[in-house]
């Protein structure tokens, strides 16, 4: 089973990278960009029997830092 873990900064946590990219987009002439926040996408290929609890555990123990980040688990349909 393919799983995507979307890790993003919690609201309220300043994102210096996002701000720099935002600035660069404006520099390129793109208008109307209100905000940029940069996260991380982690793709896992796991056994079909992997439980939601196990996936949650992976995120909390390693894949995301719960002090500053949120995560969202997306299970992809297997072909």
């Amino acid at each position: 089973m393919k799983v995507r873990i979307h890790v993003s900064l919690k609201p309220g946590v300043l994102d210096p990278q996002g701000r720099a990219v935002h600035h660069a987009l404006e520099g390129l002439g793109f208008s109307g960009v209100e905000d940029v926040r940069i996260g991380r996408l982690i793709e896992l290929d796991v056994a079909d029997s992997t439980t939601d609890e196990a996936l949650d555990d992976m995120c909390r123990k390693l894949l995301a830092n719960m002090v500053i980040e949120n995560y969202r688990i997306e299970k992809l349909e297997t072909a």
């Binding site: 946590v13 300043l14 210096p16 894949l63 500053i68």
Partner: protein
């Protein structure tokens, strides 16, 4: 009293740390490898050095925090053994949950490598008793991810309990409340971004870091 310096793959300040400990305590520390399952018996002091453990993969300090030896370090810290984490060592301490908060990318996006002014905020701790409260000292920093973050409630608690050990006395990396180093609740774990082990000889850029090691070894020898 035995001291140990833990080396992770990618640590690069472990030798400096060992030299500082030897110069000030008079005894070379044991060198411990990240893959070792257990710490040597009877340790009185553990240092986690700076560097780029595991290439900073995922997040700075995240992989090292889950390496085999860290289980023993967390256990030792729980029993009151003093643990000092410098730079990447501080990142490992927050990632392993021994210290609250997180160290994010510097607000200015750039790697900062220079000597900065720090104010000693707590001179009562095991690590800082040889300093005066309010004393300004100069210690080098060299980091990309030193921007300390914690939520307001955590920051208030740290301040209220006197757990902010050092604060930047000049603009540095965007850290919340200019925090450069913090203590755990028990006072036996200190994490700091600046490198005291790089400031122990006046011929090599200053000696303001000596007092930190002198504090530790003085307090441990009378304990």
């Amino acid at each position: 009293m035995k001291a140990a310096v833990i080396t992770f793959p990618g640590s690069n300040c472990d030798r400096d740390m060992a030299v500082a400990i030897e110069q000030i305590s008079g005894k070379a520390p044991l060198r411990v490898w990240h893959g070792d399952a257990a710490l040597p018996d009877g340790l009185g002091f553990i240092a986690l050095p700076g560097g780029f453990s595991y290439g900073d993969y995922l997040r700075s300090g995240a992989m090292a925090a889950n390496s085999p030896i860290m289980k023993s370090v967390v256990e030792a810290a729980g029993k009151g053994v003093p643990v000092l984490g410098v730079c990447n060592g501080f990142q490992v301490l927050t990632e392993s949950g021994l210290l609250p908060g997180a160290l994010m990318r510097n607000a200015g996006q750039t790697f900062i490598c220079r000597t900065v002014a720090l104010r000693v905020e707590n001179s009562q701790s095991l690590f800082t008793s040889r300093y005066e409260k309010g004393q300004v000292i100069h210690i080098p920093v060299a980091h990309h991810d030193g921007n300390y973050f914690a939520d307001e409630a955590t920051l208030d608690r740290l301040e209220g309990d006197g757990r902010v050990a050092f604060r930047y006395a000049e603009a540095c990396n965007g850290s919340r409340r200019d925090i450069a180093g913090i203590l755990n609740a028990g006072g036996n774990v200190l994490g700091m971004m600046p490198h005291p082990e790089r400031a122990i000889e006046s011929d090599h850029g200053g000696s303001d870091g000596r007092a930190l090691f002198e504090s530790v070894f003085e307090n441990l020898s009378v304990a």
